[in-house]
Each structure stands twice: as C-alpha cells, then as structure tokens.
C-alpha cells in the first residue's frame, strides 16, 4: 500500500491521541477504583459472573442492545431511539470498520496504530479502485451519514424535544455544553476533512461527491490540513471533557451492565455500585417527565438526574435536600434507559445521615402478640388439623388500621371463602419496618423485621396475607420466613375467585385500577388486582398505568414534602386515573385509598371492599366452617 508520507505522522494527530490516552487512563483508574470499592463478596461474585458463560453472554447481549442500539429508547419513542442508536451504533461502526481497514491494508503499524484507524484517509495515497475495497469505502461513508443524521436530530431535539416524546429535558451544565458542541462538530468536520482528501485517497458516495461538487474549494489542498486539525481538535476536546460531563455514561455503562447482571446491589451510598450508577446517568432527563413531583415546577431540580449530578459534584446540602424530598415511587427507576435506581440511591444517601439518637425496640416483648395469634399452634399440638389445608395469618398493617373498612372487608371475604385465618395485629401490631427503611434507618428497620419474624414464626401459620403493599414489599424483600408463603390480598383474592371458592356476581360498574407504587413497580404485581376487578365489573385503564402509573402523592417515602405540597400531585394522579371516566377508582393500597379519597370526585375503594360487596355468602357453609376454639373433637 502506498502511503503519502514516509513518516506516517503529522502533528495534527496530537490532540486526538492525547485526548484518547487521557480518557483511557481515566477510565482504567475509575474502573479499578469502583471494583476495589465493592465489598469483597460482591467483588468475587462479579469476577465469577464474568467467566460464567450464561452471564457473560447476557453481558455481551445487554451491552450491544443497550449501549449501542438503545432498545429501551426505541420502545419509548422511535425518533429518540433512532437518534441515540444512529450516533452510538454509527460511531461504533466507523471505529470498527476503520480498524478493519487499517488492519487489512497496512503492515508494520507500530505506534501508528493509535491514530491510523481514525485518520487513515489522510495518510494513504490509494483510492477505492486501487485498493479493491469499494465496499469498505462505502461503509465508512454510509455510517458517517447515519451519524450525521443522528446529530441533525440531536440538534432538532435541543429545540423541539416534544417531537421526541419529552416534555422537559435536562438543563445541561457548562461542561456538558462543551462536550455536546464538540460531539456535534466531530462528524461534520470528519466529513469535511475526508472530502478534501477524496481525490487523493478515495471516498464513496458522500465524500467523493462533495469533492466533485465543491471542487473549487475542496480540491484546494492548502485547505486540507486545517480541516484535519479541526477534526482532531474536536475529538481531543470531547475526550478531555468527557470524564467531567454526562458523556461519562458511555464508558461507565459498559461496567454497570456486568455489575447489575452479577446481582450486585447498592451497599455504600457513594462508592462501588452506587458510584457506577451515578456515572452511568446520561442526563437524558426521561426521569424529569416521569417524576410525580414535577407537577410543581419547583421540584424539577429534585429529580434523579440532578441527584446524580450533585453526587458527582459532592454538593452535600443539595444531595440531602433532593434525597429527602423524593416520594420513592420508583418511576424514575422504571423509565431509566440505563437502569439507575433513583429510589435505592436515595435510600442509600439517607442511610449515611447522622442522628444523635435513634429508636431501639429491644424492650418490646412479643410474647403477648404471639399469644394473640397462635391458634394454629394450639390446633397442631392437639392433633386437630385445621379445616382447610392453609393456615392464613392476616397482617393488616399500620395503614390498614386507619382504614378499617379494608380489614373488615378482607375478613368478611375470608369468611365467605371458608378460609381458616387469624389476625396478627388485632389491637395494633408492630410496624413492618418499610417506613423505617425508607427513612434510611436500616438498623432500626432490621430490628422491626426481627420482631415481626418472631411473631409470624410463633403463630404456626403457613400463609401470610397482607393488605398493604408497603408491608408486602418489605416482607418479600427483607424477611426470611421459611415455609411461609407471603401473599398480597389481591393475589389471594384472585386465587380464591379462579379456584371457585368465592361466588362473585359481576356488576356493571366501571372501575379504573390505580397501580400502587410498591405493589406494581415494587413487586411486579399488575395482573391479579385487575383480574379481581374484572370479576366484579368492567375495568378501564388509566392514561398512564402499570409500570408508569403515577404515585398518589401520599407516599411515606418523602421525608420533607409537607401535606400542602402533595395536593397538586394527588390531583394530577387523579386526572390521570379518570381519563376514561370510570365510575369508581379502585386501588389495592390503604395509603393510596385514603390519599385519593381526600380530593377525589368519585368513590375510591380498595379491591377488598369492592369484592366483598359483589360476593355472596354461601348459604350451605355459612356455619361451622371456621373451627371454634374448644369445640374440636379429639
């Protein structure tokens, strides 16, 4: 292959080479730091997952689909998806094809390998005909065109983000803007630079045509070097600012995906996995539109994207403000295209807060509580099997204590179905610990978990029935209850109906179901409550539902949001629910119910209350189903 210069070097490559080396060194140091910050067990798990074929394949697949193709964005909005994948995938292919080209045609690379794949056209004196590589020339121009189309869309998006399905976008920081403008200029400059050399070292439909059309200007070789300098400088600037801008998400996400696939969780608020998440945030701003607090403009700067920015800046007072305000509804986590867990990140920030004193529950004696709900134990001791095969322990929870209609309806349904059950918190139980956990007081939450575990294990039940999704989530995630099935009442009722234990008469009321945050996004239960409702009446859907349902605004997650500030959020959530003009609003959370009931123009009910009104009391087994203490025949 003929080269234009004997040395194969020109000074203009320096900005690019320095920038690239800087980024590589920075990322390597960052990578080692994050891995060293992981707890030893997690680190071992991470390394094992890297060599396990199953996770390794999943890693490669996820990196390809998420980092290059941006599938999550495609699902959200086609234009947004195309914009991101054209830039990411197009650029990746330019780099890849550039390397293939250099490896095919150049021998004896040496240090030239650093910049030849990028500036190849400047250094060769061959054309697409002499090099028999018209396909490669075509591919290079094609992918350049793809990237350019993406850049054009990105420019349009800055002005009209609504076209891309985004109402609000992030306010970029100063360095973000420098990174943004240098990124935008890289590809037009590359086109210009390659067009200058198209008559010397060949090109394809894009560069060659440009060279012919603007032959006066582009064939003047005196202009050539400035263009290549500008291209290299744009790359250099981009690389030098990259670690301090949102573009850090490009290298970090490649680390985040294997970490997540290895099953690692946030332990330290700022280090290790949390750090990888913070740096993976691309500041896209999808969480801004998602955040239920966004109805009040003053809260926009308290969304996850700004939390990540402030954590990177170590702005402690703002971190505290942002993390304490959040409702922890988890919607930002659900919509995040890279998987930053905004809610868990905030709980971690709360957990490092210093308190002078904290609660201590060691004085609480649970023996009274156990005695109040251990009828199953007595039964098994006297060798009398309870009537049903299941021994249900019903934990209504704190919030249900304020909405006794729910627990009453639940008990009534259980009676109608002939379930053998016992109530765990007849006169006020111990809190499940989730509110404590959400406040970041993990030790105290663990103590509460321990107390409740003692009561449940002492009760002799084999099924724990819960009315409140807040309890349900922590029971699922943090409790170890061997041999005990944990069910939410919506799941349980769905089973009762489908197994025919409840006789339901369908009415003609139109219900809309509000997915409570903790039940839907928190535990992934979407179908069962809808099944229950469709047995009772007609179900219509809210404008935004399931994974994207809007928090009622009553969440215990927020520590600082006062009562008055939540009204707008509740009203916004209600407007979303009543889009299809339902007769009644149904939910499966006592907290959502009482929050909505305050401002709703139509009745708000829990699915237990709805189901109870449409269920008949079976005449045949109305008596003698529940075992009465002392009347067992042994």
């Amino acid at each position: 292959m003929r080269e234009r210069f004997l040395t194969g070097y020109n000074d203009f490559v320096l900005p690019f080479v320095c920038g690239m080396l800087f980024v590589i060194v920075y990322c390597m140091v960052g990578l080692i730091r994050i891995i060293m910050q992981l707890p030893a067990a997690d680190r071992k798990r991470f390394f094992i997952s890297l060599v396990t074929p199953k996770t390794a394949i999943r890693n490669i697949k996820d990196i390809f689909l998420k980092c290059l193709i941006h599938v999550d964005l495609w699902k959200r909005n086609k234009l947004l998806g195309y914009m991101h994948s054209s830039i990411a995938f197009g650029w990746f292919m330019l780099i890849l094809v550039g390397h293939i080209e250099v490896l095919l045609y150049t021998s004896d690379l040496g240090p030239k390998a650093l910049y030849y794949p990028i500036f190849f056209r400047y250094f060769v004196a061959e054309t697409e005909t002499t090099m028999k590589g018209a396909l490669i020339f075509f591919l290079m121009d094609f992918f350049l065109l793809v990237v350019l189309s993406g850049i054009a869309l990105a420019i349009i998006k800055r002005v009209r983000s609504r076209l891309f399905g985004m109402r609000r976008t992030t306010n970029p920081s100063f360095l973000d803007l420098i990174g943004l403008y240098s990124l935008w200029s890289i590809f037009p400059l590359r086109l210009l630079a390659e067009s200058f050399t198209a008559d010397i070292s060949g090109g394809s439909f894009l560069t060659k045509s440009l060279n012919y059309v603007f032959t006066e200007f582009l064939s003047n070789h005196a202009n050539m070097l400035p263009a290549w300098w500008a291209y290299s400088c744009a790359l250099g600037v981009f690389f030098f600012v990259l670690p301090f801008t949102r573009y850090m998400h490009i290298p970090t996400e490649i680390l985040l995906i294997p970490l997540r696939n290895a099953g690692i969780r946030i332990v330290n608020a700022r280090k290790g996995f949390a750090r990888a998440q913070v740096y993976s945030c691309p500041s896209c701003g999808l969480c801004i539109d998602a955040c239920p607090m966004g109805v009040l403009k003053g809260n926009i700067k308290d969304t996850t994207v700004y939390l990540n920015r402030q954590i990177r800046r170590k702005n402690e007072s703002r971190i505290e403000e942002i993390s304490d305000k959040c409702l922890l509804c988890g919607k930002c986590t659900a919509v995040c295209p890279v998987g930053v867990e905004g809610d868990k990140l905030r709980i971690a920030q709360r957990s490092v807060r210093h308190y002078n004193f904290g609660p201590d529950y060691s004085n609480i004696d649970i023996s009274d509580q156990i005695n109040g709900c251990n009828k199953f134990v007595k039964n098994t001791n006297s060798f009398v099997s309870s009537t049903g095969n299941e021994r249900v322990l019903y934990f209504a929870g704190c919030m249900t204590a304020l909405t006794p209609a729910i627990s009453k309806a639940t008990c009534s349904i259980l009676d109608k179905a002939g379930t053998d059950y016992e109530i765990m918190d007849k006169d006020g139980g111990i809190c499940c610990g989730r509110p404590m956990l959400m406040a970041g007081r993990l030790i105290q939450a663990a103590q509460l978990v321990e107390k409740n575990t003692g009561i449940i294990l002492g009760s002799g039940a084999d099924t724990l029935l819960l009315s409140c999704p807040i309890c349900y989530r922590i029971f699922k995630e943090k409790y170890t209850l061997p041999g005990i099935r944990i069910v939410h009442h919506s799941e349980y009722f769905d089973e009762l109906i489908s197994s025919g234990r409840l006789r339901v008469t369908k009415g003609d009321v139109r219900y809309v179901f509000h997915d409570p945050c903790e039940l839907g996004r928190g535990c992934g239960i979407y179908e069962q409550p809808r099944n229950v409702l469709s047995a009772a009446g007609e179900v219509v859907e809210a404008e935004k539902n399931r994974k994207e349902s809007i928090c009622c605004g009553g969440s215990l997650g927020s520590l600082t949001l006062g009562f008055d500030k939540r009204k707008a959020m509740t009203e916004n959530a209600l407007n979303n629910l009543t889009a299809a003009s339902p007769d009644r609003i149904a939910t499966a959370c006592p907290l959502c119910m009482s929050t909505f009931a305050r401002y709703s123009d139509r009745p708000v009910e829990d699915i237990a209350m709805i189901l109870d009104t449409v269920t008949e009391r079976p005449a045949a087994r109305s008596a003698g189903v529940r075992p009465v203490k002392g009347k067992t025949d042994n």
Binding site: P359, Y361, M399, A401, P435, L559, G562, F563
Partner: protein, 110 residues
C-alpha cells in the same frame, strides 16, 4: 396512712432555665412544629404508644418545656410508620419532625 392526697415533687417549670436554642433549631428544620394544637390524634393512632408511651403531642410539649429526657425516652419506640402524619388535622409532617428531633437533640449519656 391515706390522707386522700400525697406530697409529690413540684411539676412547675421555670421557662427561664430552659435553653430554647435546640427548639428553635427544630423549628427551623420543621416549621410545622408550632402548628400543633395538641389534639392527640397522633397519640391515639400510634403503635409505639403501648411500648414507650410515645405521643408526638407530648413530645412537642416536653421539648418546649425543656424536658428533653422525657421526650427522648418516649421516642425510643417510634416506628416512623407515618400514621400520625396521616391523621394530623393540621397537616404536620410528623415523620420529618421526629427525624429532626433525632438529629438535633441528644440522648442522655448513661
């Protein structure tokens, strides 16, 4: 012998001896603290009341009167469940109030 009455230590509080700095700090952190009208709704719903006598109504009063020890002792079993904030007719953010007290006040050294 039962006289129908007995001598008990005076419960008079000399507010001149109470240092209001901490309560003012609490008020800055959670301005709602002055909104409390001592209705006791919080107390009646509190699940910790049966264990440590927790009553956020009493805690606010005790802190204003400089009886920090009593207040801290009451709060020992608070589970932060948030029922008090739901029933509060004045809309006080009691959970933030409780966390602020935990941050500002100190437990008596044993």
């Amino acid at each position: 012998m039962d006289f129908g009455f007995k001598l008990s230590p005076s419960s008079a509080i000399n507010l001149d001896n109470v240092n209001p700095d901490k309560f003012e700090e609490l008020h800055r952190a959670e301005p709602d603290v002055y909104k409390c009208m001592a209705c006791g709704s919080c107390t009646s719903t509190c699940p910790a009341g049966r264990y440590s006598g927790m009553s956020i109504r009493k805690v606010i009063l005790a802190l204003q009167r400089g009886k920090e020890k009593e207040a801290v002792a009451m709060m020992k079993n608070c589970m932060l469940c948030g029922k008090c904030s739901m029933v509060c007719p004045r809309g006080i953010n009691t959970r933030h109030l409780i966390l602020s007290i935990c941050r500002i006040y100190e437990e008596e050294r044993k």
